[in-house]
Symmetry: C2
Subunit: 164 residues, 2 copies
Amino acid sequence: MSTRLDFFIDRMVSQRACLDFGIAQTADMQGPVFELGLGNGRTYHHMQHNIKGRDLYVFERAVASHPDSTPPEELTILGDVRETLPAALTRFGATASLIHADLGGHNRAKNDAFAQLISPLVEPLLAVGGLMVSSDRMYFEALTEMPLPPEAVEGRCFIYRRDS
Amino acid sequence: MSTRLDFFIDRMVSQRACLDFGIAQTADMQGPVFELGLGNGRTYHHMQHNIKGRDLYVFERAVASHPDSTPPEELTILGDVRETLPAALTRFGATASLIHADLGGHNRAKNDAFAQLISPLVEPLLAVGGLMVSSDRMYFEALTEMPLPPEAVEGRCFIYRRDS
Ligand SMILES: C[S@@+](CC[C@H](N)C(=O)[O-])C[C@H]1O[C@@H](n2cnc3c(N)ncnc32)[C@H](O)[C@@H]1O
Ligand code: NI
Ligand code: NI
Protein backbone atom coordinates (compact mmCIF):
# COMPACT_ATOMS: atom_id res chain seq x y z
CA MET A 1 0.00 0.00 0.00
CA SER A 2 1.32 3.40 -0.97
CA THR A 3 1.31 6.09 1.69
CA ARG A 4 1.28 9.86 1.34
CA LEU A 5 5.01 9.75 2.07
CA ASP A 6 5.58 7.27 -0.79
CA PHE A 7 3.46 9.38 -3.11
CA PHE A 8 5.27 12.56 -2.17
CA ILE A 9 8.72 11.01 -2.65
CA ASP A 10 7.69 9.70 -6.08
CA ARG A 11 6.45 13.14 -6.98
CA MET A 12 9.64 14.95 -5.92
CA VAL A 13 11.92 12.37 -7.55
CA SER A 14 9.90 12.55 -10.78
CA GLN A 15 9.92 16.34 -10.74
CA ARG A 16 13.70 16.39 -10.44
CA ALA A 17 14.19 13.73 -13.12
CA CYS A 18 11.89 15.56 -15.56
CA LEU A 19 13.46 18.94 -14.79
CA ASP A 20 16.98 17.58 -15.28
CA PHE A 21 15.87 16.01 -18.56
CA GLY A 22 14.18 19.25 -19.68
CA ILE A 23 17.18 21.39 -18.76
CA ALA A 24 19.60 19.08 -20.60
CA GLN A 25 17.39 18.80 -23.72
CA THR A 26 17.09 22.58 -24.05
CA ALA A 27 20.64 23.49 -22.97
CA ASP A 28 21.55 24.83 -26.44
CA MET A 29 18.56 27.18 -26.60
CA GLN A 30 18.79 30.82 -25.58
CA GLY A 31 15.17 31.68 -24.81
CA PRO A 32 14.03 32.35 -21.24
CA VAL A 33 12.94 29.71 -18.75
CA PHE A 34 9.66 30.16 -16.87
CA GLU A 35 8.95 28.73 -13.43
CA LEU A 36 5.20 28.86 -12.78
CA GLY A 37 4.65 28.75 -9.04
CA LEU A 38 7.52 29.44 -6.65
CA GLY A 39 6.17 27.91 -3.42
CA ASN A 40 8.96 27.08 -1.03
CA GLY A 41 11.45 27.61 -3.89
CA ARG A 42 13.01 24.13 -4.02
CA THR A 43 12.51 23.53 -7.74
CA TYR A 44 13.45 27.16 -8.42
CA HIS A 45 16.70 26.64 -6.51
CA HIS A 46 17.33 23.46 -8.49
CA MET A 47 16.71 25.21 -11.82
CA GLN A 48 18.73 28.27 -10.86
CA HIS A 49 21.75 26.13 -10.02
CA ASN A 50 21.50 23.95 -13.11
CA ILE A 51 20.51 26.39 -15.84
CA LYS A 52 23.32 28.46 -17.35
CA GLY A 53 23.10 31.44 -19.68
CA ARG A 54 19.30 31.74 -19.75
CA ASP A 55 17.01 34.10 -17.86
CA LEU A 56 14.88 32.30 -15.30
CA TYR A 57 11.58 34.09 -14.63
CA VAL A 58 9.28 33.14 -11.77
CA PHE A 59 5.51 33.59 -11.97
CA GLU A 60 3.97 33.76 -8.51
CA ARG A 61 0.94 35.29 -6.84
CA ALA A 62 2.60 35.91 -3.47
CA VAL A 63 6.29 35.25 -2.85
CA ALA A 64 6.79 33.20 0.34
CA SER A 65 9.88 31.17 -0.48
CA HIS A 66 12.88 30.20 1.60
CA PRO A 67 15.33 33.16 1.73
CA ASP A 68 17.94 31.06 -0.20
CA SER A 69 15.49 30.61 -3.02
CA THR A 70 13.92 33.98 -3.67
CA PRO A 71 14.30 35.27 -7.23
CA PRO A 72 15.53 38.82 -7.93
CA GLU A 73 12.77 41.37 -8.40
CA GLU A 74 13.47 41.92 -12.10
CA LEU A 75 12.93 38.20 -12.77
CA THR A 76 9.78 37.91 -10.65
CA ILE A 77 6.45 38.23 -12.46
CA LEU A 78 3.95 38.90 -9.69
CA GLY A 79 0.28 38.17 -10.08
CA ASP A 80 -2.23 35.52 -11.03
CA VAL A 81 -0.97 33.40 -13.96
CA ARG A 82 -4.37 33.80 -15.63
CA GLU A 83 -3.31 37.43 -16.17
CA THR A 84 0.48 37.25 -16.19
CA LEU A 85 0.74 34.47 -18.81
CA PRO A 86 -1.17 36.44 -21.49
CA ALA A 87 0.94 39.50 -20.61
CA ALA A 88 4.09 37.37 -20.97
CA LEU A 89 3.01 36.38 -24.49
CA THR A 90 2.88 40.06 -25.46
CA ARG A 91 6.25 40.69 -23.85
CA PHE A 92 8.23 37.59 -24.86
CA GLY A 93 6.37 36.06 -27.81
CA ALA A 94 6.98 32.36 -28.55
CA THR A 95 10.52 32.29 -27.15
CA ALA A 96 10.53 30.16 -23.95
CA SER A 97 13.01 27.28 -24.04
CA LEU A 98 11.62 25.59 -20.93
CA ILE A 99 8.49 26.08 -18.82
CA HIS A 100 8.01 24.29 -15.51
CA ALA A 101 4.65 24.32 -13.75
CA ASP A 102 3.83 23.09 -10.28
CA LEU A 103 0.77 25.12 -9.45
CA GLY A 104 -1.40 22.47 -7.87
CA GLY A 105 -2.58 22.04 -4.33
CA HIS A 106 -4.14 19.10 -2.51
CA ASN A 107 -7.36 18.94 -4.54
CA ARG A 108 -6.86 16.82 -7.67
CA ALA A 109 -10.09 17.90 -9.39
CA LYS A 110 -9.23 21.57 -8.84
CA ASN A 111 -5.69 21.01 -10.13
CA ASP A 112 -7.05 19.35 -13.25
CA ALA A 113 -9.53 22.17 -13.90
CA PHE A 114 -6.75 24.72 -13.45
CA ALA A 115 -4.45 22.80 -15.82
CA GLN A 116 -7.22 22.88 -18.45
CA LEU A 117 -7.68 26.58 -17.92
CA ILE A 118 -4.03 27.56 -18.26
CA SER A 119 -2.98 25.10 -21.00
CA PRO A 120 -3.97 27.52 -23.82
CA LEU A 121 -2.15 30.34 -22.01
CA VAL A 122 1.07 28.30 -21.68
CA GLU A 123 1.15 26.68 -25.12
CA PRO A 124 1.88 29.78 -27.28
CA LEU A 125 4.83 30.83 -25.08
CA LEU A 126 7.09 27.91 -26.08
CA ALA A 127 9.69 28.30 -28.82
CA VAL A 128 10.05 25.49 -31.36
CA GLY A 129 12.10 22.81 -29.63
CA GLY A 130 11.04 24.14 -26.23
CA LEU A 131 9.80 21.84 -23.46
CA MET A 132 7.11 22.09 -20.82
CA VAL A 133 7.47 20.06 -17.60
CA SER A 134 4.36 19.85 -15.43
CA SER A 135 3.20 18.13 -12.25
CA ASP A 136 -0.31 18.01 -13.76
CA ARG A 137 -1.50 16.59 -17.06
CA MET A 138 -1.89 19.50 -19.47
CA TYR A 139 -4.39 20.00 -22.30
CA PHE A 140 -2.37 21.21 -25.29
CA GLU A 141 -3.46 21.40 -28.91
CA ALA A 142 -0.16 21.03 -30.73
CA LEU A 143 2.49 19.92 -28.26
CA THR A 144 3.83 16.36 -28.21
CA GLU A 145 3.81 14.38 -24.96
CA MET A 146 7.26 12.87 -24.40
CA PRO A 147 8.27 9.65 -22.67
CA LEU A 148 9.55 10.22 -19.12
CA PRO A 149 13.20 9.71 -18.15
CA PRO A 150 13.81 6.37 -16.37
CA GLU A 151 13.94 7.79 -12.82
CA ALA A 152 10.49 9.37 -13.09
CA VAL A 153 7.26 7.61 -12.10
CA GLU A 154 4.44 7.51 -14.68
CA GLY A 155 1.63 9.95 -13.86
CA ARG A 156 3.66 11.95 -11.30
CA CYS A 157 5.09 14.31 -13.93
CA PHE A 158 4.48 15.17 -17.62
CA ILE A 159 6.75 16.46 -20.38
CA TYR A 160 5.58 18.15 -23.58
CA ARG A 161 7.51 19.51 -26.58
CA ARG A 162 6.75 22.00 -29.34
CA ASP A 163 7.99 20.21 -32.45
CA SER A 164 7.16 22.89 -34.99
CA MET B 1 26.37 20.70 -6.70
CA SER B 2 23.50 19.71 -4.44
CA THR B 3 20.40 21.86 -4.53
CA ARG B 4 17.69 22.30 -1.92
CA LEU B 5 15.58 19.90 -3.98
CA ASP B 6 18.33 17.25 -3.88
CA PHE B 7 18.75 17.74 -0.15
CA PHE B 8 15.01 17.50 0.47
CA ILE B 9 14.65 14.31 -1.58
CA ASP B 10 17.58 12.72 0.27
CA ARG B 11 15.96 13.65 3.55
CA MET B 12 12.54 12.17 2.70
CA VAL B 13 14.03 9.01 1.19
CA SER B 14 16.23 8.56 4.27
CA GLN B 15 13.32 9.21 6.61
CA ARG B 16 11.24 6.52 4.91
CA ALA B 17 14.11 4.02 4.79
CA CYS B 18 14.89 4.54 8.49
CA LEU B 19 11.22 4.41 9.49
CA ASP B 20 10.67 1.19 7.52
CA PHE B 21 13.76 -0.29 9.15
CA GLY B 22 12.64 0.83 12.61
CA ILE B 23 9.10 -0.51 12.11
CA ALA B 24 10.37 -3.88 10.90
CA GLN B 25 12.99 -4.22 13.68
CA THR B 26 10.41 -3.57 16.41
CA ALA B 27 7.48 -5.43 14.80
CA ASP B 28 7.41 -8.05 17.56
CA MET B 29 7.22 -5.50 20.36
CA GLN B 30 3.92 -4.41 21.90
CA GLY B 31 4.78 -1.04 23.41
CA PRO B 32 3.39 2.19 21.93
CA VAL B 33 4.93 4.14 19.06
CA PHE B 34 5.49 7.88 19.43
CA GLU B 35 5.54 10.34 16.53
CA LEU B 36 7.09 13.62 17.69
CA GLY B 37 5.97 16.44 15.37
CA LEU B 38 3.00 15.85 13.07
CA GLY B 39 3.51 18.65 10.55
CA ASN B 40 1.79 17.84 7.29
CA GLY B 41 1.29 14.27 8.51
CA ARG B 42 3.18 12.41 5.79
CA THR B 43 5.37 10.34 8.10
CA TYR B 44 2.41 9.82 10.44
CA HIS B 45 0.38 8.45 7.52
CA HIS B 46 3.28 6.17 6.58
CA MET B 47 3.61 4.87 10.13
CA GLN B 48 -0.13 4.48 10.58
CA HIS B 49 -0.38 2.34 7.46
CA ASN B 50 2.65 0.20 8.23
CA ILE B 51 2.43 -0.35 11.98
CA LYS B 52 0.05 -3.09 13.09
CA GLY B 53 -1.14 -3.88 16.61
CA ARG B 54 0.57 -0.99 18.40
CA ASP B 55 -0.83 2.35 19.56
CA LEU B 56 0.59 5.27 17.61
CA TYR B 57 0.62 8.49 19.65
CA VAL B 58 1.35 11.87 18.10
CA PHE B 59 3.03 14.67 20.06
CA GLU B 60 2.31 18.06 18.50
CA ARG B 61 2.03 21.67 19.56
CA ALA B 62 -0.62 22.65 17.04
CA VAL B 63 -2.28 20.15 14.71
CA ALA B 64 -2.28 21.42 11.12
CA SER B 65 -1.99 18.21 9.11
CA HIS B 66 -3.62 17.06 5.90
CA PRO B 67 -7.16 15.80 6.71
CA ASP B 68 -6.15 12.26 5.59
CA SER B 69 -3.42 12.26 8.18
CA THR B 70 -4.91 13.61 11.35
CA PRO B 71 -4.65 11.30 14.38
CA PRO B 72 -7.68 10.54 16.55
CA GLU B 73 -8.01 12.78 19.58
CA GLU B 74 -7.30 10.01 22.10
CA LEU B 75 -3.94 9.35 20.44
CA THR B 76 -2.97 13.02 20.15
CA ILE B 77 -0.78 14.45 22.89
CA LEU B 78 -1.15 18.19 22.50
CA GLY B 79 1.43 20.62 23.80
CA ASP B 80 5.09 21.46 23.75
CA VAL B 81 7.22 18.31 23.87
CA ARG B 82 9.34 19.91 26.60
CA GLU B 83 6.28 19.39 28.82
CA THR B 84 4.49 16.45 27.19
CA LEU B 85 7.55 14.15 27.08
CA PRO B 86 8.10 14.25 30.87
CA ALA B 87 4.35 13.72 31.34
CA ALA B 88 4.51 10.74 28.96
CA LEU B 89 7.25 9.18 31.11
CA THR B 90 4.93 9.30 34.11
CA ARG B 91 2.08 7.87 32.06
CA PHE B 92 3.84 5.20 29.98
CA GLY B 93 7.15 4.50 31.72
CA ALA B 94 9.94 2.94 29.64
CA THR B 95 7.63 1.15 27.22
CA ALA B 96 7.94 2.78 23.78
CA SER B 97 8.91 0.35 21.01
CA LEU B 98 9.63 3.07 18.45
CA ILE B 99 9.98 6.84 18.65
CA HIS B 100 10.23 8.99 15.53
CA ALA B 101 11.18 12.66 15.77
CA ASP B 102 11.02 15.27 13.04
CA LEU B 103 10.64 18.45 15.06
CA GLY B 104 13.06 20.70 13.21
CA GLY B 105 12.58 23.70 11.00
CA HIS B 106 14.91 25.53 8.61
CA ASN B 107 17.51 26.62 11.15
CA ARG B 108 20.14 23.91 11.65
CA ALA B 109 21.71 25.46 14.76
CA LYS B 110 18.30 25.78 16.40
CA ASN B 111 17.43 22.18 15.48
CA ASP B 112 20.67 20.97 17.02
CA ALA B 113 20.11 22.93 20.24
CA PHE B 114 16.58 21.55 20.44
CA ALA B 115 17.81 17.98 19.86
CA GLN B 116 20.24 18.45 22.78
CA LEU B 117 17.45 19.77 24.93
CA ILE B 118 14.99 16.94 24.31
CA SER B 119 17.44 14.01 24.16
CA PRO B 120 17.25 13.41 27.94
CA LEU B 121 13.45 13.63 27.75
CA VAL B 122 13.23 11.04 24.96
CA GLU B 123 15.82 8.54 26.19
CA PRO B 124 13.97 7.17 29.26
CA LEU B 125 10.79 6.49 27.25
CA LEU B 126 12.27 3.66 25.17
CA ALA B 127 11.77 0.02 26.17
CA VAL B 128 14.75 -2.33 25.94
CA GLY B 129 15.04 -3.25 22.25
CA GLY B 130 13.17 -0.08 21.29
CA LEU B 131 14.43 2.22 18.52
CA MET B 132 14.52 5.95 18.03
CA VAL B 133 14.57 7.37 14.47
CA SER B 134 15.41 11.06 14.18
CA SER B 135 16.01 13.65 11.48
CA ASP B 136 18.48 15.35 13.82
CA ARG B 137 21.50 13.92 15.58
CA MET B 138 20.50 13.17 19.17
CA TYR B 139 22.55 13.38 22.37
CA PHE B 140 21.85 10.18 24.30
CA GLU B 141 23.72 8.76 27.25
CA ALA B 142 23.08 5.05 26.87
CA LEU B 143 21.54 4.40 23.46
CA THR B 144 23.55 2.84 20.64
CA GLU B 145 23.72 4.56 17.27
CA MET B 146 22.87 2.05 14.54
CA PRO B 147 24.12 1.82 10.96
CA LEU B 148 21.58 3.18 8.45
CA PRO B 149 19.73 0.94 6.00
CA PRO B 150 21.23 1.03 2.48
CA GLU B 151 18.62 3.40 0.96
CA ALA B 152 19.28 6.13 3.55
CA VAL B 153 21.84 8.90 3.10
CA GLU B 154 24.40 9.39 5.88
CA GLY B 155 23.64 12.45 8.03
CA ARG B 156 20.07 12.87 6.78
CA CYS B 157 18.64 10.51 9.42
CA PHE B 158 19.79 8.81 12.63
CA ILE B 159 18.79 5.56 14.34
CA TYR B 160 19.42 4.71 18.01
CA ARG B 161 18.64 1.59 20.06
CA ARG B 162 18.23 0.86 23.75
CA ASP B 163 20.24 -2.35 24.15
CA SER B 164 19.67 -2.86 27.87
C1 LIG C 1 8.92 19.27 10.10
S1 LIG C 1 7.34 19.13 10.84
C2 LIG C 1 7.04 17.41 10.82
C3 LIG C 1 6.76 16.86 9.42
C4 LIG C 1 6.28 15.43 9.39
N1 LIG C 1 7.33 14.49 9.74
C5 LIG C 1 5.69 15.08 8.03
O1 LIG C 1 6.16 14.12 7.41
O2 LIG C 1 4.76 15.76 7.57
C6 LIG C 1 7.68 19.55 12.50
C7 LIG C 1 6.48 19.61 13.43
O3 LIG C 1 6.95 19.61 14.77
C8 LIG C 1 6.15 20.46 15.57
N2 LIG C 1 6.95 20.94 16.71
C9 LIG C 1 8.11 21.64 16.64
N3 LIG C 1 8.55 21.92 17.88
C10 LIG C 1 7.66 21.40 18.75
C11 LIG C 1 7.56 21.38 20.17
N4 LIG C 1 8.48 21.97 20.93
N5 LIG C 1 6.51 20.74 20.72
C12 LIG C 1 5.58 20.15 19.95
N6 LIG C 1 5.62 20.13 18.60
C13 LIG C 1 6.64 20.76 18.01
C14 LIG C 1 5.76 21.57 14.63
O4 LIG C 1 4.56 22.19 15.05
C15 LIG C 1 5.63 20.84 13.29
O5 LIG C 1 4.30 20.48 13.05
NI1 NI D 1 22.00 28.25 -3.50
NI1 NI E 1 -4.71 6.60 4.35
